[in-house]
């Protein structure tokens, strides 16, 4: 397979059509961390003006490959073999000094997290100008002017004002555009973008990627786009390289690789991606119980957070008059972008946060004012699965202890009975009993999330609140967890309040959907209705922003 992959990758790209030599050629690259080899013989070419997507799941070595190209491996990482040739010149030959001269001038790097990658105490204009000054491409005044121009080019409407602002005054999308401006400042021939939009909302992601695409096209810059999102690759890249476990498993024109994958790994990856067209997982709703009434009724919930005194003692209304119901055996999904108030709403329903006004009724019981012991008893009937399985399990607890904790808290079972139940629950979430004695650090992300689900099921609750339960996981793992949730609902008649920013996931799992924006529920309806005929303009905008809807890999 690898020979075939190489031959497909090695050929000149169809997208650009020319027979020009590649701008960047990586041959037989190997990178090790200590004794472990994480990149094992990667070949990769990027032609001038071409966009190549490097896709793979976490741990596939895609980011490490990118960092090895610019010689910025983290501590402990070492390039053990292979060459990196930029425009006919071996980058490794000149050593660190030569490489430093290339970084920023010939190669621009757009880092992953816009919240971490800008210096918080420097004005953004200065940060954009920095690479010009470092490489002596402009004097102080010239660099300042150029920085403003660059900010205008990445789509800021008041670039002079923006240049004088600090990073904290900008939103995530704006910061990522500042970083793009910084990477483009010295006019590099190659741009490496490492998951440039993974930390951003879909609508913002689209804007940022649109800008990136336009700028690289206008300047003829080559772009190596590292992403875990096959939709982004399909939309933006002429060629796609798929990595798994440190090796390139498949490479070629995007429409061939993603349209007719040859390698089983690529096929698996594609099959796991939740799609807007494929089959849905949501079970046909369980037969309604005669006593009927909805399980959860939230009525006109409002949540205000006081802002710091420096903001003039104002309040931030995070949730603004949200009313919803969750029926028995139903999955109700709340979707929205970050800051829309969906998680706060879920936390109010869970009674982890008290609402400023409004009521929550659980199975006919007003839960709004409960505190102390009655509230604790209510917890028996509603449980929560958190977004990050890395944070939601006590690192010092074994799996058995974590799963047994709710049982212990309610004295449902003695020590031995708890261990037996924990083993049973583990089987339910398809983990081997041998995992009982392990600690979270010894488990993968997907396994941890299964443990968190098992813990939530321990008390046989009626409602499980799932707060972005799959967004920290790789697509293939994500698909498994969604399957598991759907199966558990069928068998146990659970109700889910499912929080997600990912519409494709929501379409798979939900019976009804509520779309949130700025603390308000703008639209509620059955999943079919919301996706097929959205009424609200914002819902339409959200649906349109989902990557992977353009004609795949067409040369542009």
């Amino acid at each position: 397979m690898s020979r075939e992959a190489t031959s497909r990758a090695g050929g000149t790209s169809r997208g650009t059509g020319g027979v020009q030599p590649p701008l960047l050629a990586v041959r037989g690259l190997r990178v090790s961390y200590g004794a472990a080899e994480v990149v094992r013989g990667v070949d990769l070419t990027v032609a001038p003006g071409e966009t190549v997507a490097l896709v793979g799941e976490s741990g596939s070595g895609k980011s490490t490959t990118a960092h090895a190209v610019v010689g910025l491996l983290p501590r402990g990482g070492r390039r053990t073999a292979g060459e990196v040739v930029l425009a006919g010149e071996d980058l490794a030959a000149g050593g660190e000094r030569a490489l430093r001269a290339r970084r920023g001038s010939d190669i621009g790097l757009i880092p992953q997290d816009p919240y971490l990658a800008l210096n918080p105490v420097q004005r953004v204009g200065r940060q954009v100008a920095e690479s010009l000054l470092i490489h002596g491409l402009a004097d102080r005044a010239g660099a300042r002017e150029r920085a403003v121009e660059l900010l205008a080019q990445v789509g800021f409407d008041q670039p002079e004002t923006r240049a004088r602002q600090y990073p904290h005054e900008l939103s995530g999308g704006m910061r990522q555009r500042v970083l793009i401006a910084t990477a483009l400042a010295a006019g590099p021939r190659l741009l490496i973008a490492d998951e440039p939009t993974s930390a951003l909302d879909v609508t913002v992601q689209r804007q940022v990627l649109d800008h990136l695409e336009r700028l690289t096209r206008d300047r003829g810059t080559a772009l190596l786009l590292i992403t875990h999102d096959l939709g982004v690759a399909a939309d933006r890249a002429q060629r796609t390289v798929v990595m798994s476990r440190g090796e390139v498993v498949e490479a070629g024109p995007t429409n061939e690789v993603l349209g007719g994958p040859r390698h089983p790994y690529t096929r698996r990856l594609l099959a796991a991606v939740p799609s807007l067209a494929g089959p849905r997982l949501a079970a046909p709703r369980a037969a309604r119980t005669p006593d009927g009434g909805p399980l959860v009724v939230a009525d006109r919930l409002v949540k205000d957070f006081p802002l710091p005194r420096s903001a003039g003692g104002r309040r931030l209304r995070a949730v603004d008059g949200v009313s919803l119901t969750v029926a028995r055996g139903e999955t109700f999904a709340l979707v929205g972008e970050s800051g829309s108030g969906k998680s706060t709403t879920a936390r109010i329903v869970m009674r982890l946060t008290a609402p400023s006004s409004g009521t929550v009724t659980f199975d006919g019981l007003d839960a709004t004012a409960l505190t102390g012991e009655p509230l604790r008893r209510l917890r028996r009937r509603m449980q929560i699965v958190y977004q990050s399985p890395y944070a939601s399990l006590d690192p010092r607890f074994t799996v058995a202890e974590s799963i047994g904790e709710p049982l212990r808290a309610f004295r449902v079972a003695g020590r031995r009975e708890r261990a037996r139940r924990a083993a049973e629950l583990l089987e339910r979430v398809a983990l081997p009993a041998s995992a009982l004695r392990r600690r979270p650090a010894e488990l993968s992300g997907g396994q941890r999330q299964r443990v968190a689900i098992a813990r939530a099921l321990a008390l046989e609750p009626d409602l499980v609140v799932c707060d972005e339960p799959v967004s920290a996981l790789d697509v293939s793992v994500q698909a498994q967890i969604l399957d598991l949730l759907a199966e558990l609902q069928r068998e146990l008649g659970l109700s889910y309040l499912f929080i997600s920013h990912d519409l494709a996931v929501v379409r798979q799992i939900a019976h009804r959907v509520g779309v949130m924006r700025d603390g308000r529920l703008v639209e509620t309806g059955t999943t079919e209705r919301i996706f097929d005929e959205p009424h609200h303009a914002y819902t339409e905008e959200l649906l349109a922003a989902i990557p992977g809807r353009r004609t795949a890999g067409q040369p542009r």
Binding site: S58, H228, R396
Partner: protein, 301 residues
């Protein structure tokens, strides 16, 4: 290729994103890694040896010397360091090396007691302040501020004057001065752990407050506090020695590091070894303890 999606908002922060090298052959790899860790830190190896030697001296002084630290040979008084008396002898002809070795027990006992007082009292204070918050937090932490406002040596002098003389009392006095530090570290850790998702998850699972506090918060907050105890250890050796130097410690002729330095002071002009060797022993122990604490701190992170 219709409708592919999946924005992973936390992809940047998820720990699994970092390349985690799986060990090739677990056993051999781990052993080699551990060996390499020590080989690259000769100072740490030396520190472990020093602290190990001091601990052994405290428990089994006979291993190091067969001489009696209390009986002197008048004919051999004030002899300089030699093969027979590596640290020399004092004004009564007692072997200084034997006295230093036997002094380790008392000095270390005082040090351990002092650290234990600070650790237990300070941790309890910090745990209460961090867990209860509000008024309790305010009152307890203002008390800690007051303790910190008085210079530590002055405070321990005042306490030991009130309590009376003796090694145990010196230890308690020094321990009290370190309470505030422990309280602050513990409170900060408790606040950090209380804010974690797994603590909220435990509450959401229906666990009671005290059970969450004892089963989740305390064990996860303990690490940095124990590291701080190791850091304090060195400082406490010094403080205990200082008080015993000032004459608040053990009754003569019982040897104790601080009082050894103090006794030698009268002969500083003619017999430099009487102050130098016990002094160097104290310095070596303090430095070694600090080096080990620093390494441990690095491991915790």
């Amino acid at each position: 290729m219709n409708g592919v999606n999946g924005v992973t908002r936390v992809a940047g922060t998820a720990p699994h994103q970092a390349p985690s090298p799986p060990a090739v052959t677990p056993e051999a790899g781990r052993l080699a890694a551990r060996l390499g860790y020590w080989l690259r830190r000769p100072g740490l190896v030396l520190s472990v040896l020093v602290v190990g030697a001091v601990l052994t001296a405290a428990i089994l002084p006979e291993l190091f010397t067969s001489r009696d630290p209390l009986t002197g040979v008048p004919a051999e008084k004030l002899r300089g360091p030699s093969a027979e008396h590596p640290f020399g002898t004092d004004q009564l002809g007692r072997d200084l090396f034997a006295r230093t070795v036997h002094g380790a027990a008392l000095s270390l006992r005082a040090t351990s007691l002092a650290v234990a007082v600070g650790l237990v009292a300070g941790s309890a204070m910090g745990l209460l302040a961090g867990a209860l918050g509000g008024r309790v937090d305010d009152v307890l932490m203002r008390c800690a501020d007051v303790l910190l406002a008085i210079p530590a040596l002055l405070l321990s002098l005042a306490i030991v004057t009130a309590l009376g003389f003796g090694t145990t009392r010196v230890a308690i006095a020094v321990g009290v001065t370190s309470v505030a530090g422990f309280a602050r570290v513990m409170r900060a850790e408790v606040l950090r752990v209380r804010g974690t998702v797994y603590v909220e998850a435990a509450h959401a699972a229906g666990a009671r407050r005290h059970s969450v506090l004892l089963r989740h918060v305390l064990p996860n907050a303990a690490g940095p506090v124990l590291v701080f105890a190791a850091v304090e250890f060195g400082a406490v050796v010094l403080a205990v020695s200082a008080l015993s130097f000032l004459g608040y410690g053990a009754e003569p002729p019982t040897p104790e590091w601080g009082s050894l330095v103090s006794e030698g002071r009268d002969y500083l002009a003619g017999a430099w070894w009487l102050t130098t060797f016990p002094g160097l022993t104290i310095a070596a122990t303090v430095l070694a303890a600090n080096r080990i604490a620093r390494a441990w701190e690095g491991e915790e992170r």
